[in-house]
Symmetry: C2
Subunit: 147 residues, 2 copies
């Protein structure tokens, strides 16, 4: 029996994201699953409620390019065939659910930071993804590296 | 590589809980993991803020017995060696985290109902378990049966 057919790995491409690689690879191999990747860039203007008094186009383009380059590196580290690699712009949870629905993914894997206090109260990205997902969600606990 | 060593399946023993059985069994077999079960009974008095004007001991004992009997049935359906089977009384998330910590579990599996509206706003049990878990959490989407 194949438990999962198409896994969507949602990655923030942070330093901690590499901790997921071995686990994701083994789960995908075991399930003989297709594997797709998604990284969502939240537009700079989101942070200002859309009312930004300057043109952020050039900076945004640089950020997008940087994200794409980090995604290529991450994809290489996986050493597993990647079906689709999405670097998209928008609201994190919305975009992840959208791609998961469109591609018929049956498992979303996301890194989960063991945050406490206010971040816990506000809800983590992993929680946001679990809310409203139509498929299974695996939250993999990652350890935050000291900067 | 063994992805997980000790899986804790948190079950509400509802009609939908049986939907998790095949998936849990295959994940445990693949990981050659030990499997433990937990069902938490929230005391009747919780619903009344602890201020209950009558003795609920007899009713509570019946509920506990009923839960134990349902757990035995569920355990039988799994057809996989169960290391420990916990039927405990208390606050759901707290008890699950406690047992997971004490037993060194590295994955908690929980059924997740695709609830909307108010239940979504208040947060599901799966979300509650994800909050504060020190290990990975797999939320398995279950379909609610029509009564």
């Amino acid at each position: 029996m194949s438990v999962y057919k198409h896994i969507l790995l949602a990655t923030d491409l942070s330093a901690e994201a590499d901790q997921l690689i071995d686990k994701v690879k083994h789960l995908a191999e075991f399930s003989k699953a297709e594997l797709s990747l998604i990284h969502v860039i939240e537009p700079l203007s989101f942070a200002y409620g859309g009312d930004v008094p300057m043109d952020l186009t050039a900076i945004q383009a640089q950020l997008d390019e940087h994200a794409q380059s980090k995604m290529n590196r991450f994809s290489g580290l996986l050493n597993y065939p990647v079906k689709q690699s999405h670097v998209v712009s928008g609201h994190t949870e919305t975009e992840i659910h959208k791609v998961a629905d469109e591609q018929g993914c049956d498992l979303i894997i996301v890194g989960s930071h063991g945050r406490h206090g206010l971040a816990l109260l506000l809800g983590s990205t992993a929680n946001g993804i679990l809310h409203g997902a139509k498929c299974d969600v695996l939250a993999v606990r990652v350890t935050e590296k000291e900067e």
